[in-house]
């Protein structure tokens, strides 16, 4: 399926999802659905740098929260429509991603991973100490009285995140099948050899880091409006870091479908578990699944399917 066709198909699918969801008169569905869509974006964004290029990012929370807090800052200064906030959040996170990459991508991959861990803590500490955005006490956000387009603000947020999810998936798929995708794969498989055969590895890695960070920032920008009360503890929740890693690794890292499957599956399980058991127990499940899959099914669910089909053909 060519790229143009896919974009169309994705848009249609997205519209269908939204259309069907309007028939559901349960507001909780939109709340939960928003979270799952958010994770689709985060998992897909993580996978561009992690699965495609082979560089692990432990600092999803930092990029995500920077998007959220840039919205808080702008909320206190001037009133802007949500799409604009998302662009700003994406830009800020993208720039920080670029900066982090510039400092550490010339070193080995593990140093980049550790640096992203460092980044998450540094950014969180800066926010905690910044009174303008509420510091440790947090900030209250009021949703605008006028809901753009229609009905319910939560439905609007759901739609916005749905659009972002479609954009993220289309981006991932386009990269996957392009010249850039081959470059990323070469870096992941053998960076030294990739460089020796013409791949500008540093440039591509910076591109992946910036793009990944920007998408995460865009996913974070609407968060303050979703929760209406944002504090560093929730913005930097470890759940974001572990989920954005677990979902692609469990779903499958080599293709855009993997993070989608992982996000929908794990996201839904967690929404159910949080309500029925407890949020700590649900995180434990995610952790166990992550370790289990990584040991037993390194290519994720997608990999298991592929193995199954290959065995049937043989």
């Amino acid at each position: 399926m060519g790229n143009g066709t896919f974009v169309l198909a994705a848009a249609v699918a997205g519209a269908a999802v939204f259309g069907l969801s309007l028939l559901i008169h349960n507001e909780y569905f939109f709340f939960a659905g928003y979270v799952v869509l958010q994770y689709i974006v985060l998992a897909t964004a993580w996978n561009i740098l992690g699965g495609y290029t082979g560089y692990v990012n432990f600092g999803t929370a930092a990029f995500f929260a920077m998007g959220a807090y840039s919205s808080v800052v702008l909320y206190k200064l001037v009133s802007l429509p949500l799409p604009v906030l998302m662009v700003v959040g994406g830009a800020i996170s993208g720039i920080v991603g670029f900066g982090t990459g510039y400092l550490t991508l010339r070193l080995r991959g593990v140093y980049f991973a550790i640096a992203t861990l460092a980044l998450a803590v540094v950014v969180q500490t800066l926010i905690v100490n910044w009174d303008f955005v509420g510091g440790a006490r947090g900030a209250y956000i009021m949703r605008p009285a006028q809901v753009p387009l229609f009905g319910n603000y939560i439905q609007y947020l759901f739609l916005v995140m749905l659009v972002l999810a479609v954009v993220a998936l289309v981006t991932a798929r386009t990269i996957e099948r392009s010249r850039l995708g081959y470059g990323f794969s070469a870096i992941r498989d053998d960076e030294l050899a990739a460089e020796a055969f013409g791949v500008p590895t540093l440039r591509l890695k910076l591109l992946a880091t910036t793009l990944s960070g920007a998408l995460m920032g865009m996913a974070g920008a609407p968060l303050p409006y979703y929760v209406t009360y944002l504090d560093p503890a929730s913005g930097f929740n470890l759940a974001y870091a572990v989920n954005s890693i677990a979902m692609p690794l469990i779903g499958g890292t080599t293709t855009w479908v993997g993070p989608l499957i992982g996000a929908v599956l794990l996201g839904t399980i967690q929404q159910v578990a949080t309500v029925t058991i407890s949020s700590a127990a649900n995180l434990l499940i995610v952790g166990l699944l992550l370790v289990g899959f990584v040991i037993v099914a390194p290519n994720g669910i997608v990999g298991l399917f592929e193995q199954h089909w290959r065995a049937r053909r043989a």
Binding site: Y182, D190, A196
Partner: protein, 246 residues
Amino acid sequence: MSAPTLLAVEDLSKRFGGFVALEAVNFSVAEGERVGLIGPNGSGKSTLVNCLCGTLQNETGTVRFAGQAIDGLPAHRRVRLGIARSFQLPRPFATLSVGDNLRIPLLYAVDARTGVRHSKAEIDARCGELLSLMGLADKAARPPLELSQVEMRKLELARAIAAEPKLLIADEAMAGLSPSEVDDILALLVRLNERGITIILIEHIMRAVMSFSERVLVLVAGRKIADARPEDVVRDPEVTRAYLGE
């Protein structure tokens, strides 16, 4: 009347901590030449290749390619300028198919150099061509890990050729091949040379090096100890002592 110098190495040195891998290496290669590089294991041949190609950076000395000093340039820029190498221990891209392994240099070395974007069909065709040249056409869609050692070495060489270099450095590309396979690769290299590609052949298989090369460099313990025609190198007492054995 001699051809212009393509590669000039002046006073190249490389250390790893306290260990001196290369010391004051000097030589040049003219356009279209066939040069052999021999030396015992550990003499620094691969380190030299790495320094020429940009995988490692030399500490002192200058490397000039087509008159331009390329010290400090990263490897991918040197490939685009026209130096390509095969790795002594093959380093295929494991999750890409055999054919796609060739796609990388085609996309990132050739297309990038010329600025021309070939279509997928054109690149597929070129991959197929190169694979046929190496006798690997039937393995195009397979993962590289399914290849035998010998086939992997051929793929490695094919990758270097795919980059359409002006200077091709073949680092022990023939290890483990049968005599007739060695002849095949030699014939291929000669054909490439006839088309104008300068070749540096690094090998332990003496008959191959001696028959192929117009000139042979001998590297021992990081130093160049000989730089002459094959028949003269064989008779050089220092070489015999250090390398060929008494």
